[in-house]
Symmetry: C2
Subunit: 107 residues, 2 copies
DNA sequence: CCAGCTACCTTGCAATGAAAGGTACTGTAC
DNA sequence: GTACAGTACCTTTCATTGCAAGGTAGCTGG
């Protein structure tokens, strides 16, 4: 997968969904998403920062035995609503694109 | 649909597929895609220009009874290969994103 | 004590879609 | 005949977002 552009906006959706399932810290999130989509730290950290600033995440620190303290992110109520809306928009969008690239009818 | 970011990269795919079905001119293309996805002229014309420069389209002019001459775009062989590759990448990408936002297993 | 891993962060840069604006041709209504 | 709406082309400027590269710091094992 080389197409960077496809990712635009979708990573935000992925981060919201994953953190919604359980509190996560940034480094862990990078590794989780990397299993499916190529991603780098320089993308995730600014994104987490922005979503926190916009009120979709709250954060707390926890000590770790394996390195520096971890900053966990938790989805807020506002974040849940936003996540659900984004999921709907994503499904809708995929449907529309598929109707263009597969539906052979309308000019 | 408000999420601009989802569109990044996908419009290129849509344009390639639509022009691949039949030669189209820019204005017509904007109207076609607009039926499914909100799009503006300022997006399509530079995109057509770029794809032409990259060798995916050839162009020709045709007079019109209803206004200025139309510049038609035709998909080249190279364009067809690129279109097919993009369609595959799109399907693959959608699968990966859905596995993240719906697959509840892996952390 | 230092190499490697964990874990955090920031500063540039590139790509792409949109808004706003501009040119020009055709037909119709006044 | 001229003013307007519609067709059709184009460009410049801006915002957003992902990435590469680089930096800080803690912990563990050799």
């Amino acid at each position: 997968m080389e197409n960077i552009q496809f990712k635009k906006g979708v990573l935000e959706l992925c981060v919201l969904v994953l953190v919604g399932r359980e509190d996560l810290y940034g480094y862990e999130l990078v590794n989780s998403i990397s299993k499916h989509i190529e991603i780098s730290e320089g993308t995730i950290y600014p994104l987490l920062r922005r979503l926190t600033k916009e009120g979709y995440f709250s954060t707390y620190l926890m000590e770790s035995q394996e390195g520096p303290p971890r900053k966990y992110y938790r989805l807020t109520d506002s974040g849940m609503r936003y996540r659900d809306e984004l999921v709907r928009e994503w499904d809708d969008f995929v449907g529309r694109v598929n109707s263009i690239i597969r539906g052979g009818e309308e000019a």
